[in-house]
């Protein structure tokens, strides 16, 4: 028996090492991940597309936006300055911007003027190709029109206004805001709003950064509101969502973890009336949690909030193994022998942990980082809690239990005896059939929903503010964009132009606009075409005569002939991307990789109604990147796959049960769980809750966990009420934990919790069916 002792010491050492490792990681800054995007798996086969998704989300993720509003325009500007100053003083931000970007119109015109003969808007191209093109009418309009749009150009350099038209189409200000007094403003519902942008010091998903930023913003907002009660301050940014998720997750960890813990302690006390089982039971759970966390931190480096919340609900399941052992202890009375006690419960515990691990193992097959992390945590947590029971409890529970078993289990005994008296196999069969009959209409109402937003919940107050900011500032989008790839700059630009040609007519019909690099730098082919068109429609002699006739100075005609003659200089992407105008759209040009050039065409005001794939069909080198849709498609695929896993998992569980109990009794043990799964699905159908991947994964878990109670019941048999009391206690703790989990605000966890609550609850209620049908016989092994 010495080896057992050594194994126990070794096990305690391992557990302490895990705990120390976890403690160390937490002391070096929180390793808790709150980034909602980190939950999403890579979906794009094209590495450029995945890189583009990351570039865009980083750009949007690590900045926060505010609109400071007030009914009085000047007051709004003053308040915005005050607000920005307060943020600056807070040291939570690396940069606070309340000034409008200085688009230097003169500089823009200077940059493009040398290439003016190569730059035409598509409208002007059409005009020049028109057989009845009237150059004089165009010139007169330019000379006498009372208004002109966009950046003014010098009439002598640009007599027909082609360059001016082209410049005014430049998507320089990708915002619906206007510049006033050097700040960006929008007007809405009688309020004037001023835009303030800020970049936090540190990562937006870091807990410390989030805390500092939110505190600074709240303080500044309070001050401004005290100054001007009519002021309205709207905020948005990934940081605020991250902070909200973290705060609610922490609340949930407290609620689920704390609630489970207190509930379990009360339940344990009610049966055992002794501190020892409480302390030792919780000890095995603590070891499980420490080892689970350590394995996640060691393998993934970080632990996600969602894992922590789910982990909190695992307490109720992990404590089951200890409960079974203590129930045996209670049952034995004076006859207690720790080793014999272990031998008595070990087979049942082994089968129970095996079925649970199959359930969680199936979860780890999903490609979702969040879900496979949950699976890893549960897998390691449960198995180590189980090992702790097997190795440690016999060391610590040496003395016989002083309590009279009969006294403690009066209620469970009554339930058991009532069940034994009333339940005949016939009645049980009828009950089963009734459950199935009631469930069928519910099953028929089941409808799937694979929307990715299932995974994240966003507080309504934040999404409302975001949608107002999006509407007023025109920033942001749906997350859909085009990826344009070419073997070189020229090919990429040409392909992009082919796409924008098709996008242009869609403006105002599903999209408000788009941003494309070729709007700044046309392809060489387009530039050459423009030159040819100008030279043939407006040759030097014709223009010279026209300009002279309208009273232009000779310089204008000279400038025109010089521009036409200069066919060598053209605008190139290589030059332009290093210039000042490229800065705001740098993210639309992916860093040059090994193969050619990749450009992004982003959409503004996308309402999701356009079929982008159909729009770009047949164009080479164009792919539609829609992370939301890709992930949703993946959800659907895995939900369908999960319907295949379920029978597979069933077969494995049945095989394990058959190995211990024989095929007939094994099937009987499985029946309550199958009925429970059916009832859970029916409840979904009746309540109109959509079927998601998480429901299916929850069902796999119901199989792995729910079957435990039938196992425990059959193992306990009708010998004594104490083991049965243990089963009831185990079930109560598990249902308590998962019930609390179903209160989670995270849709994915809520769904898990709900399925587990209904499924495991029914499994427990129906578990005695197995006892009836098995005829109370001891396992054949």
């Amino acid at each position: 028996m010495a080896w057992r002792q050594w194994a126990a010491y070794l096990w305690v050492a391992i557990a302490l090492a895990c705990a120390a490792f976890v403690g160390l990681r937490f002391s070096q800054g929180s390793p808790v991940e709150a980034d909602l995007l980190a939950l999403l798996p890579p979906t794009e086969r094209n590495p450029n597309a995945e890189a583009a998704v990351k570039v865009l989300s980083d750009r949007l993720g690590n900045r926060v936006l505010f609109l400071v509003g007030h009914p009085d325009g000047n007051q709004a500007k003053t308040l915005a300055h005050d607000f920005a100053d307060r943020l600056r003083q807070s040291d939570a931000f690396a940069r606070v911007i309340d000034q409008a970007p200085k688009v230097d119109g003169k500089l823009v015109a200077e940059i493009y003027a040398p290439y003016r003969a190569a730059l035409l808007t598509s409208a002007d191209r059409k005009l020049l190709q028109d057989p009845v093109f009237d150059a004089e009418a165009l010139l007169l309009r330019r000379m006498y029109q009372p208004f002109h749009a966009g950046l003014p150009t010098d009439t002598a350099v640009d007599p027909f206004g082609f360059l001016q038209h082209w410049l005014s189409r430049l998507p320089l200000a990708q915002t619906a805001l206007t510049i006033e007094d050097g700040v960006l403003v929008a007007r809405d519902g009688g309020n004037t709003y001023v835009l303030v942008l800020a970049e936090p010091t540190g990562n937006a998903f870091d807990a410390a950064t989030q805390g500092k930023v939110v505190a600074a913003v709240d303080a500044a907002e309070t001050r401004i509101k005290a100054q001007a009660p009519q002021a309205a301050i709207l905020r948005t940014g990934g940081l605020f969502y991250g902070h909200a998720a973290r705060t609610s997750a922490q609340r949930e960890v407290d609620l689920i973890g704390g609630g489970s813990l207190i509930g379990i302690l009360i339940l344990l006390w009610s049966l055992f009336r002794s501190l020892r089982p409480l302390a030792l039971g919780m000890g095995t759970v603590a070891i499980g949690i420490a080892c689970g966390m350590a394995s996640v931190l060691a393998l993934d480096g970080k632990i996600h909030l969602i894992t922590l919340v789910f982990g909190a609900s695992l307490i109720g399941e992990a404590v089951d193994y200890a409960i079974q052992y203590f129930a045996a202890h209670l049952d034995s009375g004076d006859q207690w022998n720790p080793e014999a006690g272990l031998r008595r419960v070990l087979p049942g515990l082994a089968v129970a942990v095996a079925t649970s691990l199959i359930g969680y193992g199936a979860l780890s097959l999903t490609p979702f980082p969040a879900v496979s992390q949950i699976a890893l945590f549960a897998f390691v947590g449960l198995s180590t809690a189980w090992v702790s029971v097997v190795l440690l409890l016999p060391r610590f529970v040496r003395r016989p239990c002083g309590r009279d078993a009969d006294q403690s289990v009066r209620l469970p005994r009554r339930i058991l005896s009532t069940w034994r008296e009333k339940a005949t196999p016939r009645l049980v069969a009828m009950l089963s059939l009734a459950i199935i009959a009631v469930s069928i209409p519910g099953w028929l109402r089941l409808a799937p929903d694979d929307d990715v937003r299932q995974l994240v919940s966003r507080p309504a107050s934040l999404t409302e503010q975001e949608s107002v900011i999006r509407r007023l500032a025109g920033a942001g989008g749906s997350g859909r964009f085009f990826l344009v790839e070419g073997g070189n700059d020229e090919e990429a630009l040409q392909r992009e132009e082919a796409l924008t040609e098709r996008l242009l007519p869609k403006i105002g019909h599903g999209i408000a606009g788009f941003s494309a690099i070729s709007d700044f730098v046309p392809s060489q082919a387009t530039q050459d075409l423009n030159r040819r068109l100008l030279a043939s429609a407006l040759p030097q002699d014709k223009v010279a005569k026209l300009l002279d006739g309208q009273g232009f100075q000779p310089a204008a005609a000279q400038a025109w002939s010089a521009a036409l003659a200069d066919t060598a200089s053209s605008l190139t992407l290589a030059d332009w991307r290093n210039g000042p105008l490229a800065m705001p759209v740098k993210h639309q040009m992916l860093p040059p990789g090994t193969s050619g050039m990749a450009l992004l065409v982003t959409l503004t005001g996308d309402d999701g109604s356009l079929d982008l794939s159909a729009l770009s069909a047949g164009l080479p080198g164009i792919s539609v990147v829609d992370k939301t849709a890709s992930v949703s498609a993946l959800f659907a695929e895995y939900r369908r796959l999960a319907t295949l896993w379920l029978p597979a998992a069933l077969a494995i569980v049945l095989a394990i049960l058959a190995a211990r109990y024989g095929i007939r009794q094994g099937t009987v043990i499985l029946i309550p769980t199958l009925l429970a799964m059916g009832a859970a699905l029916a409840a979904y159908g009746y309540s109109g809750t959509q079927l998601t991947l998480f429901t299916m994964m929850g069902l796999v878990l119901v199989l792995g966990v729910g079957v435990n109670y039938a196992i425990f019941v059959v193992e306990a048999g009708d010998r004594a009420p104490a083991p049965f009391a243990g089963v009831v206690l185990s079930a109560a703790t598990t249902i308590l934990s998962f019930g609390l989990l179903s209160l989670s605000s995270m849709p994915a966890l809520h769904q898990f919790g709900l399925v587990l609550l209904i499924g495991v609850g029914c499994s427990v209620l129906l578990a005695p069916i197995a006892l009836t049908l098995a005829g109370g016989k001891k396992p054949c092994a």
Binding site: F147, T155, E180, Q550
Partner: protein, 205 residues
């Protein structure tokens, strides 16, 4: 330049803000403006530009209809009509061909529209956002000088000067590059209702 029309009407309305001492005066001008929804005038526009050997002179008529917008009808040296409303500019050629440009095509158009609404709602704070305003004179003979605040407008415009009595009589725009435009208004008349043709022009939007 495209702010010009708006400024023309707004100048009167915003006087109160610019020169508090003339509050009473401005309020009276404001009321006058509000009494009559239609204003018609003849204009002569003279552009002095370095690119041209001699000034460009344009003649035409102007109609302002409160709540609708502005008609800017050039009659010589060519026939061209502009219909300027809150959200679009329509250019109508001699042949009747209309070409519309919306706020989407012209990012600055919304701002012009807002200035119009400010006028109609007598939200006198609006011009101050773009210009520093200096005023002097009496209700019968006043002058305003609008100097753009630092921003995109100041890059191209040095100053706008307005003069008038019961109505705006003269506007002079000095551009940063030395070019200038002078618009003189004559025979300004008020009316209660727009003509059928004017209504049709605005209705075509």
């Amino acid at each position: 330049m495209r702010r010009l029309i708006a400024i023309l009407f707004l100048a009167v309305a915003t006087w109160a803000q610019a020169a508090p001492s003339a509050d009473d005066l401005a309020a009276r001008l404001n009321q006058r403006l509000e009494q009559k929804p239609v204003l018609r005038a003849e204009f002569v526009q003279e552009k002095q530009m370095a690119a041209f050997k001699k000034p460009l002179v344009t003649r035409g008529r102007l109609v302002f209809v409160r709540g609708q917008g502005v008609l800017w009808k050039i009659e010589s040296p060519l026939k061209l009509t502009y219909v300027l409303t809150d959200d679009r500019i329509v250019e109508i050629g001699e042949d009747g061909n209309a070409q519309a440009r919306t706020a989407q095509d012209l990012p600055g158009l919304a701002q012009v529209g807002r200035v119009f609404r400010a006028l109609l709602g007598a939200q006198t704070g609006v011009l101050k956002d773009i210009f520093a305003i200096a005023a002097d004179g009496t209700p019968d003979a006043w002058r305003l000088a609008l100097t753009p605040k630092p921003g995109p407008v100041s890059q191209y415009m040095r100053q706008i000067r307005l003069a008038g009595g019961r109505h705006v009589d003269r506007i002079r725009i000095e551009e940063a590059n030395g070019d200038s435009t002078t618009i003189t208004f004559r025979n300004t008349a008020e009316d209660d209702v727009p003509s059928a043709e004017e209504r049709a022009r605005f209705g075509s939007r």
